[in-house]
Symmetry: D2
Subunit: 303 residues, 4 copies
């Protein structure tokens, strides 16, 4: 069965699962998305592209942005990053403050919110205009002009009390160097980036190719760092569902509350799936199912 | 560079690291081991064997036994296991009771002590003589007669107050079905099994070969379950160092306080390394270094 | 209004509250008690006695026994007690193990279960026959022959997995000196002591009289220790309801899951109330109401 | 021995203890206080005043302000307060966020920082100019013109990241109704109020007199609420040292990091002691000693 047929089969298989998750509703801009959407795309390192459904439709990448900002930060700093953020699964909710209190304001990993704040703080220290630099980095990878959804970013800003709490809490430990509001301003913008499945599987394909973008041959990061980002995605990328996801899918992945999930098959391909309904764990319900089906049909796990 | 040369190089490279860890000392039988020991072995699915140092010397496998008991339990029960034990990284120490209290006596995963107790409880319910069955299972995989270290097991029994606490705590939630002392008696015996690096890399090679022991062609578990055990090893196998280990080594692995670590390169080989000095995280200090070096020399991570 | 009239009024006032709590049901011996029971008694230091309802009926004193054992331990040891048990409110459930893990096996106070185990361990170290000595101490105070309910004690022993977990957990930190099963054997017996309201208000009257039993003039403990036990009752005596209870009643008190509550009005009287239905906090629902009414009618709080 | 002699004796007795605590140093305005200061004053409800040492010198009342704001809030709202803040000892540090996360943004009591924020939020909702109203309330009680230390308040504002974290965290649960920065602006001002021992023992004497200011006969709050504030002070007023303090002193008390402690002897007097060096628990080291000595000399505990 080729990948086109597999995507078609997956699209059929997931139909009964619509209506069982719940679209993120804490801000109107996310709540208003059509819950019936489903798109999936594959970019292989050999240059093949497969897609199905709403794979060209833009959605809010939300926490998937944490992969871009981490990769960008790793091009700017070396091990100094890991003095300010850990590399361990959190064992608790993505927006928990408990762990920060017990561990002196050092977030467990760069994919929980607090850890992503620290990464964005690092970018804010390095760049005069961190928003523009993040966008440039994503544009370069996507080979297309992506943009912030300013209305959505503003909406997050207005309801972002818990993110503010985290930011000030870490600042009280000295682990945010810039002004909290400045860092969160950048953070809410990065989360609001609008991309399609095709944009994302193309952009993050370098993680399946030892750090090199296959279409241009440009090295984005070192092989070692590419491996490491994949490792972090596997151990920390799916909120407090990483163990289950590794067990049932077994691919380095990162999800966002916009309903997107990016998954990497090292040495082969990047897969993006999007469907807005979320499971209790905050991951796309149908996106998770689709990736399970993909693994069942292809046997492609990293294990 | 072939694997023999790589092992030789690793043996040289790790010399400066002796003396930086600390041998487990909570029971005399472990404390009395020579801290200078180092052995490493590789079994490939094609039938090649490479080894160096003290690779034939027996040591106490301790928590590596949790891989054997989990695999055995998965041959006996299906998803019912996962109603009694989770599949998520714990985010805390391997012998913590806090998580059990917050999550109604359901351990986070089968590789922390509490989770291993539940797995052993399952075996105790299935088998009239669970100790003998565990030994038979390991013997079959190792193709050699392994045995319990009864003195060590007795020593653990006498100092095992925290394991007793865990057992009774889970029993208070109804998650241990047999008598706590009976389950722990089996548990301390399984931990005391004495094996060499060569024994272990041979025994667990089926996890690198989709569940089939390559030498005999016998299917030990299904491909899906083999993948799943590897996934659990990667997300939960190295105590509260799983994230760091995935980041720096990137292979499904399980360690024991006896100083052993087993690592799986899916589709290729099983590697076992042994050196008794432990880092703060409870994993073999030099064993971890050796596996990092192996990955640096070969590029073989799952990412 | 004299105390007889007040007790009569209280008995009327509490009638509508029956049926709103829940009798402890984890062991048959407690579950089989008639939930409609209500007794209340007052012993004043001047020698007056007032009583109403089922004030002569025996019930299981359960955690009220912790006051007797603490007082007895304070006659045997001085500040050494407080190296092994704290004097702070716990902020969590009476049978929580979380705090023990975070604080190296030192229980927060002598009135949570873990703390009471340590006190009983102290008595077990001091006495050849701790059960008999505890009974003697209570008999002397009650001026009547009280006894253990051996069937109830046995029943607790059989279901006491959480208490065993606590005991072994503390032993793993070195904070239980005798065998866990020996200490808990004594503990379950002390909890099973059967007394009436009249027995209890008579026995503990010395805490209202600076440590001296008024009827005999015998000094049981020093004034300073009498004050201190009252202080501990106020800050730690009502499970995780101490703050509410201090706010609404304002008397040093200790409750048990048998439905009894002892309350001290320093310089004046000891009050005992019994009614088996418990609120969510594990304190007698109607007993708490009765004491609130008593304070409303008399204005007697310590504040 | 009369109170004047007792104060003289206490002043002698505490001399050896200077230098054993540590002045609060997180803001310059507090760090610059002379650590050798010691003042103590007693106001009795019969109108007598006793004082010694630096009893007329102004210091920053800090958390003692929480007694004033709670009393003021209790004149404005009834039980609705207790839907937004608990009445239980916290069992953890005064500025912990852990408990807030576990209990949906409801602080344990009004004397930890988070609870005081909620009380100040209530005042902010009721008053157009909450700062002025707080000052008026204190002025009325002190019968003298007290004022904010604006420099100190500004200094706290600049270092108050943890308080901001708490505020935004509670707002994320809907438990702060006004803007976080507005509430904290008031909060930092109330903490900065400068008063002397004499000011404080006079102001809070109504808590020793069933809610009535003895000098004017004005009822400040009801007897019931006066009792209740005393109860809250006893169970929650001394940070995570309440149990120890109840055990060793046994008087309803509230301390501040400026080194002041107010203690109430119900029906008799209010005592204020000030000495800037703090113990690990954040309470005045010498102030605590002085109150212990007072109780030893007079026997006046509430127990």
């Amino acid at each position: 069965m080729n990948y086109s047929s597999i995507l078609e089969q997956i699209q059929k298989d997931i139909q009964p699962y619509f209506g069982k998750g719940k679209v993120a509703d804490y801000i109107p801009a996310l709540a208003n998305v059509n819950p019936k959407k489903f798109g999936m795309s594959i970019h292989t390192i050999k240059g093949n592209v497969f897609e199905i459904g709403d794979s060209k439709e833009l959605f809010s990448i939300q926490s998937i942005s944490k992969v871009f900002t981490l990769a960008l930060a790793m091009t700017l700093e070396k091990d100094s990053i890991w003095k300010r953020v850990g590399r361990e699964p959190s064992g608790s909710k993505f927006n928990s403050l408990v762990q920060l209190e017990h561990e002196n304001g050092i977030p467990r990993n760069p994919f929980i919110n607090a850890g992503a704040h620290v990464i964005t703080d690092i970018l804010t220290s390095h760049f005069e205009n961190p928003k523009a630099e993040i966008l440039n980095f994503v544009n370069k990878l996507a080979k297309s002009k992506v943009s912030f959804d300013e209305i959505l970013a503003q909406s997050e800003r207005e309801t972002g009390n818990r993110n503010l709490a985290m930011g000030y809490f870490m600042k009280s430990f000295g682990n945010i160097h810039n002004q909290v509001r400045v860092v969160l301003d950048v953070y809410f913008n990065q989360c609001s980036i609008a991309m399609s499945c095709l944009n994302l599987s193309k952009s993050l394909l370098f993680l399946a190719n030892d750090g090199v973008a296959p279409s241009t041959g440009e090295r984005i990061i070192s092989k070692r760092n590419s491996d490491r980002i994949n490792a972090l995605m596997l151990t920390c990328g799916m909120y407090d569902y990483v163990g289950e996801f590794a067990y049932s899918v077994g691919l380095p992945s990162k999800s966002g509350v916009g309903g997107g999930i990016i998954a990497i098959v090292p040495g082969e391909m990047a897969i993006c799936v999007w469907s807005p309904e979320l499971s209790d764990s905050g991951n796309s319900y149908i996106g998770t199912k689709a990736l399970e089906l993909f693994v069942n049909y292809t046997g492609k796990t990293i294990f």
